[in-house]
Amino acid sequence: MARITLSGLRHSYMPNPAKDADWALKQLDLDWTDGGAYALLGPSGCGKTTLLNIISGLLVPSHGQILFDGQDVTPLPPEQRHIAQVFQFPVVYDTMTVYDNLAFPLRNRGVPESEVDSRVTEIAGMTDLTAMLQKRAAGLTADGKQKISLGRGLVRTDVNAILFDEPLTVIDPHLKFQLRSKLKELHQRVKRTMIYVTHDQTEALTFADRVVVMNVGEVVQIGTPEELFEEPQHTFVGHFIGSPGMNVLPCQIEGGQAVFAGQRVQTSNKAAAGAELNQVGVRPEHVRFATSGLDARVVRVSDAGRFNIVEAECGGHSLKLLVKEGESIPSETTKLEFIPEKTRIYQDGWLAGRRSAA
């Protein structure tokens, strides 16, 4: 088990990267403490899988270092890094039984058979595979196979971290929840560092203690699920997390304050001068109907269960707000108010006057 540090990591799949876009990973400095549950969250093609393969050693980064407990492991192959990985599509050794599958990593390392047996029995118990130990692995369902993949990681005692690469992609929706809870439970039991890659915010937010949000090859924010929701550091985070995502509206800056649709908007932060793009960000949860404020017109209302999602038009821009079921929704013209302490100014995408990303 180990603390994982990524230092000055950059990677490109091209031999001579020139443009910014040539880099799959732009610049990464991260520090993951031992035993944590982390998620790497981002849209497809943002570099999550690249990062994961660099950590596991399947890929050597173009620049930078990976340190386990302060030791440089950058040039080491996967088998010497003591890493386990669960892949998007279940990998099982078809010809072997479930038992032999679980025993495989141990036998490859020459562990004595008596110890293999006790480890396999223990891990099979944890992953609910005991009843199937003597079955052929090929005959199992997708979620059973993913449990085997996971089990092969857990069975080793020398594992520094377990990496998950979108492990629930091929699992039936009704089993996803079960398997996710199982993962969470296992994490609490074994206290190994787990890094979970996904593009699904629900998976990331329910699994991880800390979520790393990535976009086009860089980390935009690292934080607890609550921090990501309450204090998005970047408009991308605001938009990507939450359903529906944050309203991001163009604005002007006058004396460090935002002016949207001709009106001054109270915000929790102050803008600096000199940004090219100024925006106001406010979550649909933090917009409400009011007697005074911005002039708006209700365009559409859709029922999302306990909430109604109201789409309104304000100063030529469309924005959404969440209204609890049962609350009255004005028809046609109305006035809107943003909750000042939850409203923020973003400049060139980033939160104005923010602390650093980490």
């Binding site: 393969n53 596991s56 399947l58 192959p77 996967p78 088998e79 890493i83 386990a84 990985q85 892949f87 998007q88 599509f89 990998v91 050794y93 078809d94 010809t95 072997m96 495989f104 990593p105 490859n108 390392r109 052929r136 090929a138 005959g139 993949s149 092969r152």
Partner: protein
């Protein structure tokens, strides 16, 4: 559920049935017909029962040909299958060399069979052939037209050259269909190259290898053109395989009855052995 029962659809199968009848069923029945009759010429036939079958099955000549045939088939299988798998494993999976390798591999398969025979016939001639002359220059006493051992060596070499590619292409197709994640998982699990072969590559190649073995078995058991052009069954009878013997009896001696009986036995042997191969090789899957 209401299903419409309409037996008229069977008429749509008729054209195929007619076609199959003319190219398979009618010739086969003709052979069966010959195999149970005796003739003394003038197109007059007498019923002779199963005497031809008894004759063929007791004939030392048939036993010898069958023995040679089995030796040939199992020798080339024992060489071509492992060799084909080895070459497939060594071939690149990515990059421009893939197509180069594939074209090179497909080349022998594109050459007409009698041309293959003629090529090797000349190639191996001891006085003027590149192979024959080289071997003799190196001090081997090599002459495939006189020495049975040399004839066998040339015959097997020719078949390996001609047909290993088929095994390579099939095995390669099996190999490239293995997702990268399997190799990555095996690396992480600390598997050796042998373990990767044994537990990932071989199981994933199993289906295509089954097909490769069956195809090579049936084709090599039926082989006629190439050995007939290369050695014509000689020297003596040393490379007279079943098909060559059959042609000698049927067209050389014009013994239609024994030749027909032999064809049917030949056919049943292939059918039986193919069935055994298939059953053994797919037994595991049936157990699941």
């Amino acid at each position: 559920m209401n299903k419409t029962v309409n037996q008229k659809a069977w008429f749509l199968v008729l054209p195929v049935l007619v076609l199959v009848a003319f190219n398979a069923i009618v010739p086969l029945i003709t052979v069966v017909n010959y195999s149970v009759q005796e003739t003394f010429g003038n197109n007059v036939f007498f019923w002779s029962g199963i005497t031809w079958f008894e004759d063929v099955l007791r004939s030392p000549r048939f036993h010898a040909s069958l023995g040679r045939q089995l030796t040939f088939t199992f020798t080339i299988l024992a060489i071509e299958v492992p060799l084909g798998v080895l070459i497939a494993l060594a071939m690149p999976r990515k990059g421009i060399w893939v197509s180069v390798c594939l074209v090179l591999m497909a080349m022998p398969l594109l050459i007409p069979w009698n041309v293959v025979g003629a090529m090797w016939n000349i190639f191996a001639l001891p006085e003027i052939g590149l192979l024959g002359k080289t071997l003799n220059a190196m001090g081997f006493d090599y002459n495939y037209t006189r020495q049975p051992g040399d004839a066998w060596f040339t015959l097997i070499l020719m078949d390996v050259w001609h047909w290993t590619s088929l095994v390579v292409l099939l095995a390669y197709a099996g190999l490239v269909s293995i997702p990268d994640a399997y190799y990555q998982a095996a690396k992480i699990d600390g598997a050796s190259s042998w373990a990767i072969f044994r537990y990932i590559q071989l199981p994933k190649m199993k289906r295509v290898l089954t097909i490769a073995i069956l195809l090579r078995f049936m084709d090599s058991f039926n082989i006629y053109t190439e050995p007939s052009v290369l050695t014509g069954g000689g020297p003596g009878n040393s490379t007279t395989l079943l098909s060559i013997d059959l042609v000698k009896i049927a067209l050389g001696q014009f013994d239609l009855g024994p030749a027909a009986a032999m064809s049917l036995i030949y056919f049943l042997v292939i059918l039986l052995l193919s069935w055994i191969f298939y059953t053994v090789m797919t037994r595991d899957e049936a157990n699941q």
